[in-house]
Amino acid sequence: MESTRRDVTKNNKVIICENVSKTFEGKKGSVNRVLDNISFSVRENEFLVLFGPGQCGKTTLLNIIAGLEKPTSGRVIVNNKEVTAPGADKGMVYQTIALFPWLTVMGNVEFGPKVRGVPKKERQEKAKYFIDLVGLNGFEKHYPSQLSGGMRQRVGIARAYCNDPYVMLLDEPFGHLDAQTRYMMEDELQRIWQKEKRTIVFVTNNIEEALYLADRIILLTNCPSTIKKEYIIDLPRPRNYVDKRFLQLRKEITMNMDKSQY
């Protein structure tokens, strides 16, 4: 198996978050500070996990990197350009999966290239490649409602990949799956990522998942979230959930994590 230890010292920063803060204003003038002055960067082809207690600002942070939300102050730079809007350079995979229910598997996966005007033959070949890659060969004409949860998220991953994004943003993509399907999908994501290297930012509140996948984990605090600690995870891949060092790290990070606010 190809080594996945990439050179983490190389200084090609693909995503840079500079002093990002986010405040939501409530109905009666109340303010809710979610992110507080967060700065970090992600290197090319790095697998970065944003990890923190439930309801901390990790999804908001990811949405800001995606351009779906605007920071109250600070800025995000992806591929040397400041992020101002959502766009095809950032592939997103959602917890709610968010497939277009009226499109088939093929229709969903080719959606990105289609709206960007890629010719039919070319985009369908490409979609086919990624459908095969995520293991859904033969399901091209199925609708999302005919697929199981794990299969739907495979489509979600293929759809993001098929658009040739510069970075991949995954927001608790396996949060709604049962424990065993989740383990399987974690293996699958790892396999796909090794075949098609991308820079990945992965949000989760599951410490096992974080440790299993990450090159680096950024631990966030409760709201207003700041970076509490960073962990470089150099365990060899494929990893083992009950390996001694794995369990040690799991305990250590869990101990350092803030208590959930709810």
Binding site: A66, G87, M92, Y94, F100, L103, F111, G112, V115
Partner: protein, 263 residues
């Protein structure tokens, strides 16, 4: 469809037939053996008159002609209502300004029953087919508009975000996300509207005419012919049922993705 589903379906159809037969039987008994018989024409007389109407004309025409004429009126009006209703609904749902302008007017017109429009309709459109189209149009157009409006309003914002992340522009978001996810709502609206439009036919054909199933009922009432009234009602019921079933079948075909089959 699984085996269990199919046998379930058979069961439903069988019980529907039994209930229907029982209804006819009770009707026949009430209309022949109880004191109510003076007010209720018997099932057998209505059914035989209904069958007879296929070859012996009621007024100037036989039943197939009456049904065809009414269907024509309803389908034309329904078509216009689809067109305007969907456009109006989408405008109201998608553009704030359109909502602010149209919604109050719409909410004001909505509670006025189609029948109340008949005098104005005759004044504006005369007594030909146009005023009948207008009445039937009013009977179904509100349902389509309201459903389309609600559907456009309830598009999942995450899906819109997903399309934007994939590079879709404003126009593509509208055409490829907002419209398709509104389709099930539109269909629900069409479903109610076709039935409502079809039942508005009786009102519309109050406006001077000499054919149509609504005319059969109206004429029966004027002449005190209760059998003819019930023959007309029967025709309306049967055709309405067929229309609703056809609409459901069309929806199943066009909205395949919306069937929650699962795996």
């Amino acid at each position: 469809m699984t085996k269990a589903n199919r046998s379930e379906r058979k069961k439903v159809i069988r019980s529907a037939i039994i209930v229907f037969a029982a209804f006819i039987a009770v009707w026949q008994i009430i209309s022949t053996l109880t004191p109510l018989r003076d007010f209720v024409p018997s099932a057998s007389s209505v059914i035989s008159a209904f069958i007879r109407s296929f070859y012996i004309p009621i007024g100037k025409h036989t039943m197939p002609h009456h049904v065809a004429v009414s269907l024509f009126r309803v389908l034309v009006a329904f078509g216009i209502a689809c067109f305007t209703g969907v456009i109006l609904g989408v405008l109201m749902g998608y553009f704030r300004i359109a909502e602010a302008i149209i919604k109050p007017i719409f909410e004001f017109i909505r509670p006025i029953p189609p029948l109340a429009w008949i005098p104005m309709s005759i004044l504006w459109f005369g007594i030909g087919n146009t005023s009948k189209f207008f009445i039937i149009f009013l009977g179904c157009f509100t349902f389509i508009t309201v459903n389309t409006y609600v559907g456009t309003k309830s598009v999942d914002p995450v899906l819109i975000g997903a399309a934007r992340m994939l590079g879709a522009n404003e126009r593509q978001v509208f055409l490829r996300v907002v419209l398709p996810s509104t389709v099930p709502y539109i269909f629900a609206g069409l479903h109610i509207a076709i039935t409502a439009g079809w039942s508005a036919v009786v009102g519309a054909e109050l406006i001077r005419s000499d054919d149509g199933v609504g005319w059969i009922v109206n004429m029966g009432m004027v002449t005190g012919n209760t059998v003819q009234v019930m023959v007309g009602m029967m025709a309306i019921g049967i055709v309405g049922f067929v229309l609703a079933t056809a609409m459901a079948a069309l929806e199943r075909r066009l909205c395949k993705w919306n069937q929650q089959e699962g795996m």
